[in-house]
């Protein structure tokens, strides 16, 4: 029978393995979405990721709030990483072949109704005046946030600042 210490180590190793899988799947989904392969991206987001996240949540034994925060951070980081690489790729493509560069960009779809709530942010909001203005006016709240919800307001502020930095 394994000792408690061994059990802990195995649990940590398994949680790490699952975490890497989640990160990899997430990155893949972001890239697929950028390539316009929305069905393939949705397949990962809706079918493959949720069971992995459930398993990881069990294995990592973190308090729910902390686990959620880590996942949210991972989503944000991976999204930013892919976006950043995509901008570089777009820049290089524009330099090589300016005429076609714009055509290679794929518009982001809106989130399907069945998308898990934690993954809604992977999809862009539908084009609107507010969305386009938000890139230039970082003080605009992206959604209705009650004055009393300071934590959500700070999250939204940071989300907008990150988006603005990516587009800058």
């Amino acid at each position: 029978m394994p000792s408690p210490a061994q059990n802990t180590e195995e649990t940590t190793a398994e949680a790490d393995r699952l975490w890497r899988l989640i990160a990899g799947h997430l990155r893949e989904a972001c890239i697929l979405r950028r390539q316009g392969r929305h069905h393939a991206a949705a397949e990962i987001l809706e079918r493959e990721l949720p069971p992995l996240i459930r398993q990881w949540s069990t294995e990592c034994a973190l308090p729910t709030a902390e686990a959620k925060a880590r996942l949210n951070q991972l989503f944000t980081d991976e999204q930013a990483r892919v976006e950043s690489h995509w901008i570089i790729a777009r820049f290089l493509a524009a330099n090589n072949d300016p005429g076609n560069a714009a055509d290679r960009l794929v518009a982001f779809p809106t989130a399907p109704a069945a998308t898990p709530s934690g993954m809604q942010s992977l999809f862009a909001a539908p084009p609107s005046q507010a969305t386009s203005a938000a890139m230039f006016f970082p003080a605009i709240a992206p959604r209705r946030i009650p004055i009393a919800d300071v934590v959500d307001m700070i999250d939204a502020t940071q989300e907008i600042a990150r988006t603005a930095a990516l587009h800058h």
């Binding site: 507010a130 003080a139 004055i147």
Partner: protein, 371 residues
Amino acid sequence: MNSSSKSAALEETPVQTATDTLLVGLDFGTNTSALLASSSKSNDISIRELIPSIVGYAKDGILDGVLPGNATVLFGNEALKRKLYVNLVRPLKGGTIADLDSARHFARHLRSRLSISPNTEIRAVIGVPAKADPSAREALRQAVTGVFDKVLFIPEPFLAALGLRDESRLGDAGYADPVRNSLFIDIGGGSTDLCLMRGYYPQAEDQVSTTFAGDAIDQMVHNAILQTYPDCQISLHKVCEIKERHSFVMSPETQVVVDLVVAGRTRQFDVTEQLGAGCDALLKHILDLSRTLIARADPDAVPELLQNIVLTGGGSLVRGLGVALQTLLIEDGYENPKVSVIGPNYKEQVARGALKAARQAKERQWQTILR
């Protein structure tokens, strides 16, 4: 500018292990900065300061004893009082960092006002202008690097909304929640921002802005004075002083006659017309933008909204501005509007909102910066 004194003031602060946390709310303003601080373990505000955002660098060759303690750098009112002997630099223009070195000096001066014990971690929530782009935020981050341990940058309209509300009185029948249904008109140095407050943080459709604000009035009045009196010597700083003392809309209480220098001799000039034209232009801008925003409000909410039009920021101190706006709205057909003036306290409202945000921010939300 004295570069050796600048580099001396930028020496690094040694790394400390924190045992206590000081929370700071800061409005790093173009003209004035508001600083509030409180221990994380207490609700009492330990530091409350309004400081003109200006740095004075000692001019080369200043005699010993002219500046207090033979200082090479002075800040705020101290710098303004001795403007003949220092080169005055405003770190910010239009709400964003315009001179990084002086901004860093000023930020360090603000830190020196905190009078903290050695092992205290300082966490600051800092207001940023509504339209601060990533480079403006980066410049601000650089300015406070080495000054605070952890920071959060939050748009000023959000902090103002938070700061204006007195949560402890929300249950009082007699308390009118200032952010439930109101129109805020903030007239700053670099911009005039109008914002509908409807119980939530402002969104795109809730805000309109114009760059016609305090600095633009100064420039307009400056040009008009020089056009009328081409021989007189007057700086923008002097125009700003005249405006802060004598500004008015509609009609003046008395003629505005000021002393100006012509070829080294002081003479008196009547600048009533020039000053009035600049301030009336501001009134016209805020009237037009108010109409725009009121039209966007829910029709059912408009009667209550018209009762809660609030003028804030330094520009709100233009004499008669509130009454004039109210009169013009009535003439325009709006039913029983009521305009009130918060005035200079607005700066503190942003800082107060920042301090509230600092108290409620989650650990994961703080951004660590190197000391």
